[in-house]
Amino acid sequence: MNAFLEIRNLCVTLKGGAPILRNVSLSVSAGQVHGLVGESGAGKSMIGKAVLGTLPRALAVTRGEIWLDGVDLQTLRPAERRRRIGASAALIPQDPLTALNPARRIGPQITRRLVDILGWSRADAEARALELLAEVQIPDPARVMRSYPHELSGGMRQRILIAAAFAAEPKLIIADEPTTALDVTVQKQILRLIADMQTRHGTALLFVTHDLGVVSKVCDTLSVLYAGKVVEEAQMRRFFMHPIHPYSAALLAATPSYKDPEGSLTPVPQSVIDQVEREVTDHDRRAGL
């Protein structure tokens, strides 16, 4: 198995006991795009945060392994873990408005990782940043480098964050709903940009979203999450043709289609919800929770 990121039986709980992630296992191969789909609150983002070590203080990994590039992150000391994650993974965050430090100029926020982790000289890092800003189609990159975040639009900021994520040529990028905070016209451009960058750089991408339409455009494989439990892990084509789990099928049926805008949307039926809820309670009982 040549998975770059492999998560095995990951359990994350709220301090005090409530489970957030239930035995999550998934793998992302080098150069592949893996989608994480689910309703809000299903724990999609928490998987990304657990991998990057940025879980909120109230949450903790209680069990499981996170293998990044052949090393189980959970067994490393914090400083070593941070160094490894910094060198091989990066994040494209959800909200471009809070993801750039408002008090600092754009330039150092892109070059930071290159200088800190890879030990590049400042001049090299700046040249690289200019190149990347041009690659994400930002006009006049030199000027943008000197700007403060509030001087730029949301779409521009998201482009900058994409450039920053790819800056150190990480082998894995976690994109946490990268288009949710943008307006629809910009969403499409950003999505295409991420897909292009991913192909060109050959990066593995973990793509967190609640939008099955987006998943169908960019992903190779996907996991469907419900209440912190993986309901189905599948190849893209197979999933859209024959979803196995009834919840997946119901989700697909609840997705609006461009081809049939008048077609009625079917909400996820109660019987299906009852079934996944039962699976979750069964799992908890077996896990002794």
């Binding site: 940025t54 809070t98 430090n101 008090a103 600092r104 990782r113 006009p139 000027r143 639009s153 920053a164």
Partner: protein, 283 residues
């Protein structure tokens, strides 16, 4: 791409002009006191006692704001008093700011046990009435400039710690802090390079406010005769002396009071004005 605000130089507002102007005047007065004070602030002369200010009948030239019951020139004493007031404002204000900010940042960003310890201390501290606490401290430390500065720092660091802690907590929850950590930043580095610049506007506003408060605390301590020895003129000391003779010579009380009032007001207004200018989003 770059919005209009980026290129517009915002004019310095009236508030900054007035408060800054008054404070610059005070600094000049303090620096040049021996040369610009019309009289020796300590020279007593019973023949010139309780002279009224210049516009009233019976005023003497050279005693612009009148003299007190020992014949000392009020204006000269105010000018010399500015030295002490400004030293206390700068030194005590800055020390309080540095100590309170450091503790507040650590508590708000690291959370956990450092936060619990610092926050409990703040709670305990806040239960003391500050002025009594200061008087008690001076009684223990003895009077003198250093004691006053120590007393102000010891009673007022909580003001910074509380506010900066809250700010650090909000900033710490932002995505850019998480990004910095994913990028391999150490926690201390993240605190100093990511959080600190964003709480800077608040620190500046608090610092100038604290300078005003330091001047008041010093005046209060002088008022109860616990400040510097009586041979160096202080505004609080003048107010305290003026109070006893307010019916015969109101000017001995009123002029230092106005000076004190304007100074404290200027400090707080300067802070507000500077805060806006340092705010990266408004800038």
């Amino acid at each position: 791409m770059r919005d209009a605000r980026g290129d517009v130089k915002r004019p310095i507002g009236l508030r900054l002009w007035l408060s800054g102007g008054w404070l610059i005047l005070l600094v000049l007065a303090a620096l040049l006191a021996p040369w610009i004070a019309p009289q020796d602030p300590l020279a007593q002369d019973l023949f010139t006692s309780r002279l009224p200010p210049f516009w009233e009948a019976g005023a003497e030239p050279g005693y612009w704001l009148g003299s007190d019951s020992l014949g000392r020139d009020v204006l000269s004493r105010i000018i010399h008093g500015a030295r002490l007031a400004l030293i206390v404002a700068l030194v005590a204000g800055t020390l309080t700011c540095v100590i309170g900010t450091a503790l507040g940042l650590i508590a708000g960003y690291y959370r956990g046990w450092p936060d619990r310890i610092i926050s409990r201390f703040v709670d305990i501290w806040m239960a003391f009435p500050p002025v009594l606490f200061a008087i008690l401290l001076i009684a223990v430390l003895g009077t003198g400039l250093t004691s006053i500065i120590i007393a102000i720092v010891v009673i007022d660091w909580t003001r910074f710690a509380r506010v900066i802690r809250a700010e650090a907590m909000t900033q710490g929850a932002m995505d850019y802090v998480a990004s910095a950590q994913v990028a391999g930043r150490k926690r201390m580095g993240t605190m100093l390079t990511e959080i600190l610049p964003n709480v800077l506007p608040t620190i500046i506003a608090l610092l100038t406010l604290e300078m005003g408060i330091a001047v008041i605390v010093e005046a209060i301590l002088s008022f109860v005769n616990l400040s510097i020895s009586t041979d160096s003129p202080t505004w609080g000391g003048m107010i305290s002396e003026g109070r006893t003779s307010v019916h015969q010579a109101w000017w001995v009380l009123v002029f230092p009071l106005i000076t004190l009032f304007l100074t404290v007001l200027s400090f707080s207004q300067l802070g507000e004005g500077l805060k806006d200018r340092f705010d990266p989003v408004l800038r």
